[in-house]
């Protein structure tokens, strides 16, 4: 009788103590105190021998019930505490992350990479050539003899009478063709130089030249190639047009305009209210050029195209001042 009473006393005390537990440490102390090897319940159970034989099963069951009850309640309280801790404000997730330091590739090179990726995927191989060029490669072999008015189209930096800073990447057409027989499928990105400096021009800028020569290459092929390029670069819903023009080394020649990305063709300051932006010069390689590299125009035909990377970068990112691309201000560069 006394045992049973003691048991129930322990139970009541345990449950009320649990109700006022403050933390997990206290709960652990409680568990040891009541349910541990030397705990109250266990100690009481050791005195089972003092109870009459016929009363032992009943007492035993009651002791186990009490033990279960206390354990269950204990676990419930522990779970509550744990839940509070994990869902609690111990970590401030809004604090900035510990960012690893990253650098930025220059936007001109990023766009150059994108242009080359598109064209390499079409089958073109990248080649590179000198910045300082012979007049022969930059003009003469491209069908611009000395004293030809077409040379006026580009203001040239001269190192000597026969050595210039290349004014376009087109010299690469000659350098490649004179070293190999057709088929030729190359792109040549690189720096070019013109004696021109104002709001929309810098004396050095970047171009990519493309050249394809083989049997049976047509003007329609040129159109298809450039249309695909424009769509991959600017989006498949951008309109473009091929407009007759003139380059001494292509015949027929074409300028490719895209619908102004700013005003979508309605007319704005960026496109001088025409609704169009010129981005590419192109044409079928003029037979006179083949004459300089010993290709037979009766057998081979080809096309060439050239684009200015700064122009495309400015259109793509909405940059209105070309000088920004060469100021290299970190506040600008880190946006790319």
């Amino acid at each position: 009788m006394i045992m049973k009473q003691k048991l129930l006393e322990i139970r009541d005390r345990a449950l009320s103590e649990l109700g006022s537990m403050r933390n997990l440490d206290a709960l652990e102390k409680f568990r040891v105190e009541y349910l541990g090897k030397k705990g109250h319940i266990t100690s009481l159970m050791k005195n089972l021998g003092n109870i009459a034989k016929e009363e032992r099963p009943v007492f035993g069951k009651l002791a186990n019930d009490v033990k279960d009850e206390i354990t269950a309640f204990l676990e419930k309280i522990i779970a509550e505490f744990k839940g509070k801790e994990e869902g609690g404000e111990k970590i401030d997730i809004t604090l900035p992350g510990k960012r690893p330091l990253r650098g930025h590739l220059h936007p001109i090179n990023q766009v150059n990479d994108e242009i080359c990726r598109i064209l390499v995927r079409m089958g073109y191989t990248i080649v590179k050539g000198p910045n300082v060029e012979l007049d022969y490669y930059n003009f003469e072999a491209l069908n611009m003899p000395k004293d030809h008015p077409a040379r006026d189209m580009q203001d040239t930096f001269y190192v000597s009478k026969n050595v210039v800073l290349r004014t376009h990447t087109s010299p690469m057409q000659i350098r490649v063709m004179e070293k190999q027989k057709p088929p030729v499928s190359i792109i040549a990105p690189g720096k070019v130089y013109r004696s021109d400096s104002d709001v929309s021009h810098t004396p050095m800028f970047h171009q990519v030249e493309g050249l394809l020569v083989d049997k049976g290459v047509t003007f329609g092929d040129l159109k298809g190639t450039l249309t695909s390029f424009v769509h991959q670069m600017f989006g498949s819903d951008i309109n473009l047009r091929f407009r007759p023009s003139f380059f001494p080394f292509t015949e027929p020649s074409a300028e490719v305009d895209i619908q102004c990305v700013i005003c979508r063709g309605k007319g704005c300051r960026t496109c001088s209210f025409s609704g169009w932006q010129e981005i590419l010069g192109s044409g079928m390689v003029d037979p006179a050029v083949y004459g300089f590299v010993d290709y037979d125009p009766e057998i081979y035909s080809g096309f060439a195209f050239g684009l200015g990377i700064e122009r495309i970068t400015m259109l793509k990112y909405g940059i209105d001042d070309i000088q920004l691309l060469f100021k290299n201000d970190m506040r600008f560069l880190k946006q790319f």
Partner: protein, 688 residues
């Protein structure tokens, strides 16, 4: 090429809107860069008659005019002095808004009422004449609007003429294109006139000593003319075309040049010694005063127009001071010639002149159009200056230049373009372009281009004509089959991509600077006398001295950019540039171009954040970057060695980066003298 639409309409009927015309021209290869209305206020300006002019009682420089507006008499205050009773003048009524937003309203000027504004030509945007009120032709009806009476709304075109189409550098040339593109007929002005004067062969003589430089020389004469201002219609057309009006005779030569593309020159016949012209080369070193007042030094390239004793003009480029038309000139000799394009180009370049005449001669004019233009000028001169045209013309044309005869293969053209244009369509386009077309065989056309198409000499030139007339947009898009390459990517490209990615990942931001720098940079980098950094490739015509040599090092660019960024408050910088440097080689025409990469770090390692302390960058940071960079491109056996030469870096805090015997580069702390030279006032700067 500046063009007035109303002028163009004199030579071809145009039934489309100005915008549609601009589109057609652009899509045919004549890009319209600007299109503007002229005179859109002319329907608000009326023809008013001056009834009386009296002085303004309170202002010396002003007059009071009573004018008849057609429905009332109004007093207008006016600052001009050239009008008199009976003159018709343009008047802006109250309520009109002029260019620039000026509102005309009734007002008091110095106490006197003014009911409108009387206008000068430049105020109307018609010419640059501000010498007084515009005096209108007396036969106009008072009260009519200006646009009804004199000048309908006009449109101004700025057309980009490509170097291969000199035939379009004239109003008639553009009219021809429009006629071909729209199926209209070209309407050429008639050049019939009465010849009354003495035969020119009796009073003048031309000797062409150099027929290579001058394959054709024609001259005509008109005597007893009156030098007067040109009529409004001519002055307006010259103004729109960007040419100043001088007097009727000089204006006519400019007008015919713009109209036909044939440059002309007018001489005062009485000033021509021995009344003859000699066309011959100059001697090296000869001096000559051109009519702009400048003295020019000539060489044997220059073709000169001389009279019996002395040169009177640089042929095809610019006339001399000494034979100009003056107000007293009465007998005029007009020159219309064809000069060798290369001769003119070389001559113009060496005296640094570019004139409307030299521009056209350089590109090639129509040799068969020489006499038409001359007759046109004579006919206009008679009309505007009176006098008597001398009988006959002088025309020295010893060797007729025949146009080419070109075979155009229909199949080859279509295969080349990727189109299916029928032979009949090709024929009709070529004929529309005034080419002579006959069938040589079933697949070939025999084509003779007109002489003004100097750009058409080969079959491929005809192919382009077919393509642009048919319409580029009508040629279907196809895709070529490109054979894949059997070569791997260039190792240098792979290396570049990898290295830049690694550097960016390591926190370096890429800059791009110009390849040209100041020669002073070698001094700023503390380079020694014989240091290779001084082997500059020099530019003959740089834009500035700061950009007059090609860079031999990437450091100057890097340091300048560091300075710029620090001045904007960016203290912590990690920058790199990958690019070419150039070393002059006396044994080669072209310099040695080497690809280099350089980087700089300065400031603190990272900026101060909530979770860390920060520290200034040091030598080992740059060394670490170099180590990572070299390993990333597959180099593992690099070492760091003490330096022997000492430019740019602090002697004790720098080293060479080596691979076996080869020195790959240098790195370390930039020397203080260098920082001072670049005015970089900051802590240490480390570079590689």
């Amino acid at each position: 090429m500046k063009l007035s639409l109303n002028w163009l309409k004199e030579y071809v009927d145009i039934n489309i809107t100005p915008q549609e015309l601009a589109h057609i021209l652009t899509m045919a290869g004549l890009e319209v860069e600007a299109l503007e209305k002229i005179g859109d206020i002319h329907d608000k300006i009326i023809v008013a008659k001056v009834l009386s002019v009296r002085k303004h009682p309170k202002a010396d420089r002003l007059s009071l005019c009573d004018v008849d507006t057609g429905f009332s008499t109004v007093q207008v205050v006016c600052g001009a002095t050239n009008m008199k009773a009976g003159d018709l003048v343009p008047m802006a009524l109250p309520g009109t808004e002029l260019r620039g937003g000026i509102q005309i309203k009734e007002s008091k000027l110095r106490g006197e009422f003014s009911g409108g504004m009387l206008m000068a030509e430049d105020e109307l945007g018609l010419t640059d004449n501000h010498a007084g009120l515009m005096i209108l032709p007396s036969e106009l009806e008072v009260g009519r609007t200006l646009s009804d009476a004199i000048n309908p709304l006009d449109w101004f075109y700025e057309i980009n003429i490509t170097p291969n189409r000199p035939d379009c550098a004239s109003v008639i040339g553009i009219a021809r294109e429009v006629a071909a593109l729209t199926g209209q007929k070209l309407k050429l002005p008639d050049v019939q006139y009465r010849e009354e004067g003495v035969p020119i062969s009796e009073v003048a003589r031309v000797d062409v000593v150099d027929p290579e430089g001058c394959p054709r020389y024609a001259a005509g004469m008109i005597q007893d003319v009156s030098i007067l201002p040109s009529p409004f219609w001519m002055r307006y057309r010259l103004f729109v075309s960007g040419v100043r009006s001088i007097n009727n005779i000089v204006d006519i030569s400019n007008y015919v040049l713009l109209e036909t593309g044939q440059p002309l020159h007018t001489f005062d016949y009485n000033q021509l010694e021995e009344h003859r012209i000699v066309v011959a080369r100059a001697e090296q070193g000869d001096k000559f005063f051109t009519l702009d007042g400048q003295e020019r030094t000539l060489n044997s390239e220059h073709l000169m127009i001389c009279d019996g004793k002395k040169p009177v003009g640089i042929a095809g480029i610019m006339g001399g001071l000494n034979s100009e038309i003056t107000d007293n000139s009465s007998n005029i000799l007009i020159e219309s010639a064809y000069f060798n394009p290369v001769t003119i180009r070389r001559g113009a370049k060496s005296v640094g002149i570019s004139s409307e005449a030299s521009y056209r001669f350089e590109r090639g004019i129509d040799i068969e159009g020489v006499t038409y233009a001359l007759k046109r000028a004579l006919s206009l001169s008679l009309e505007l200056a009176g006098g008597k045209i001398n009988r006959g013309l002088i025309d020295l044309y010893p060797k007729k230049i025949e146009p080419p005869v070109i075979d155009l293969r229909v199949d080859k053209t279509n295969n080349f373009l990727g189109a299916e244009i029928p032979k009949s369509e090709m024929t009709s386009w070529l004929k529309a372009l005034s080419m002579d077309v006959t069938e040589k065989d079933l697949n070939t056309l025999k084509v003779i281009p007109p002489t003004y198409r100097v750009d058409i000499a080969r079959e491929i030139d005809l192919v382009e004509e077919i393509a642009r007339m048919h319409g580029y947009d009508c040629i279907p898009e196809t895709f070529p089959a490109i054979r894949p390459s059997d070569k791997a990517d260039m190792p240098s490209l792979v290396l570049h991509d990898r290295a830049c990615d690694i550097l960016a990942g390591a926190g370096f931001s890429e800059i791009i600077t110009f390849s040209f720098i100041s020669p002073e940079s070698a001094n700023l980098l503390q380079a020694g006398e014989n240091c290779p950094l001084r082997q500059f490739v020099k530019l003959i015509n740089p834009l500035t001295t700061e950009q007059s040599v090609m860079r031999t090092s990437l450091l100057p660019g890097l340091l300048s950019i560091v300075k710029e960024n620090i001045s904007h408050g960016e203290q912590n910088l990690k920058l790199f540039e990958w690019g070419e440097v150039f070393f002059r080689e006396d044994s080669n025409e072209l310099p040695n171009e080497r690809v280099m990469v350089a980087g700089v770090i300065t400031g603190n390692y990272t900026s101060k954040k909530w979770h860390n302390e920060t520290r200034p960058v040091d030598f080992y940071d740059i060394k670490g970057a170099v180590e990572v960079l070299l390993e990333s491109i597959g180099l593992s056996n690099f070492t760091f060695e003490r330096r022997i030469s000492g430019e740019s870096y602090d002697k004790n805090i720098s080293c060479n980066i080596c691979c076996g015997e080869t020195i790959l580069g240098t790195m370390g702390k930039i020397a203080k003298e260098v920082l001072d030279g670049y005015e970089i006032k900051t802590g240490a700067l480390f570079c590689f």
